[in-house]
């Protein structure tokens, strides 16, 4: 079964490689490596790379970037496999060549199968080319039932859009459950540094809650503890006008309230 060779038949131009122990197109080299007919140990990657670069520079092939990409994939696999041979893993030193050849064969087989399937797919009859949809008008009273054409992707894009616009990290799938104290202190430190006016406790909590997505109660607890720590260090002062009133923070600059 030489699907690879068959598939690449319609690929022109070919990359011709000339290596010790092998001379011919790269696809052929891979096909031979697959069937154990070429010793990968003898392969000189440096020469292969040079020849590939030469191929890329060739004016005639400039427009065939897709093919160049293909060859690059093949060459990188060969290189990868060769590297496996040069630096064997501790345990299996024995039949490395066989193992690596097997690996190469498997990868090639899989890729060539997928390429075959992609070709099969796009060779199929296609909508608007080989068969056509209805264009019959419904009656005047007709109202489309499915009124919204929204995909989940639209919603997700909207979210990325906000994140990009606001330029802050809004909560993502990898939500943390708790706001750790060190993080809370770090956050307080930053906020105190950046703000020029009085900061309120609730604002701090809201900010960290919205930007991290962590439960607001946990945020409040951690921020409160963080503030106590920070106050103890003498960097800020906390004020509360009456019971249950909002806590207000004031910077302490050189021992004087800011």
């Amino acid at each position: 079964m030489d699907d690879t060779t068959k598939y690449y038949d319609d690929l022109k131009p070919e990359l011709h490689v000339s290596l010790e122990g092998f001379e011919g197109p790269l696809d052929l080299l891979l096909t031979l490596a697959k069937s154990h007919k070429v010793d990968l140990k003898k392969l000189q990657v440096g020469i292969l790379a040079e020849q590939f670069l030469g191929y890329l520079r060739d004016q005639r092939f400039k427009s065939k970037l897709e093919f160049a990409g293909d060859y690059l994939v093949m060459a990188s696999w060969l290189t990868f496999l060769k590297s496996q041979l040069i630096i064997p893993e501790d345990e299996n030193n024995g039949d490395d060549v066989d193992r690596v050849n097997e690996l190469l064969a498997l990868r090639l087989q899989r890729l060539s199968l997928i390429r075959e399937k992609a070709k099969w797919l796009f060779d199929r009859p296609q909508l608007m080319q080989d068969f056509f949809p209805s264009n019959i008008d419904r009656d005047e009273k007709v109202i489309k039932e499915d009124l919204l054409k929204v995909q989940i992707a639209d919603i997700l894009k909207a979210y990325v859009g906000i994140a990009d616009k606001k330029n802050y990290v809004i909560s993502s799938g990898s939500k943390e459950e708790y706001l750790f104290l060190d993080k809370a202190i770090h956050f307080i430190e930053q906020q105190v540094k950046e703000s020029k006016t009085l900061i309120s406790f609730s604002n701090l909590v809201k900010k960290i809650h919205l930007s991290s997505g962590i439960n607001a109660k946990f945020c409040a607890a951690s921020i409160f503890c963080g503030l106590l720590e920070y106050t103890k260090l003498g960097k800020i002062q906390m004020k509360q006008k009456k019971t249950f009133a909002n806590l207000e923070l004031a910077k302490v600059i050189n021992g004087i309230n800011g």
Partner: protein, 179 residues
């Protein structure tokens, strides 16, 4: 081409056309030997009792749904519209931050959320009221509904990819701005 082939050709042409097709025009697509009048008559009979009827309109023919089935096409009074950008963003924020208050949504979006937007999403049954927050004023929160998950084929809100993941997938936001 026999008469049956001619029937098939006319069927397919009518099916893909929103306008009545002139009989003269159709005639040109068929060999001279075909008696188009007879073909149309056969088709008309064939479709007489079906959900779709073949109708003559002057010198043209057209497929129309059977009159007695008109009720199928009178659906609820809904207007077809795209979900506005505000609604998409609001929905996304509720999905990712639930339970979340209106104020918090506004804070994230940077603009105020019109009451129409929330109403629309509630009407769609995609969001619902959640608990009240314990913060001052005890504002009401919003969260997404099972219907939302169902509509977008998600098994839970945990299935929503994170922002980094979305960027890695290369979802482009540019298109969004058109809407």
């Amino acid at each position: 081409m026999n008469k049956n082939d001619a029937e098939r050709v006319i069927e397919a042409l009518l099916f893909t056309s929103s306008e009545p097709l002139s009989i003269n025009g159709l005639k040109k697509k068929l060999p001279h030997s075909i008696d188009i009048g007879a073909v149309i008559e056969t088709l008309q009979k064939h479709y007489e009792k079906r959900g779709i009827n073949l109708k003559r309109v002057g010198g043209a023919i057209v497929f129309r749904t059977a009159k007695d089935l008109h009720h199928l096409f009178i659906t609820k009074e809904v207007t077809k519209r795209n979900l506005s950008r505000a609604a998409r963003e609001t929905l996304a924020i509720i999905a990712y931050h639930q339970p979340v208050t209106k104020l918090e949504i506004e804070e994230i979006r940077g603009v105020s959320v019109g009451s129409g937007t929330i109403d629309l999403l509630i009407d769609l049954d995609w969001i619902k009221f959640g608990r009240r927050k314990s913060s001052p004023g005890r504002p009401i929160t919003f969260q997404i509904t099972d219907k939302f998950l169902d509509y977008f084929d998600l098994s839970s809100e945990k299935d929503l990819p994170g922002v980094k993941e979305l960027r890695d997938l290369g979802l482009s936001v540019k298109k969004l701005n058109r809407a």
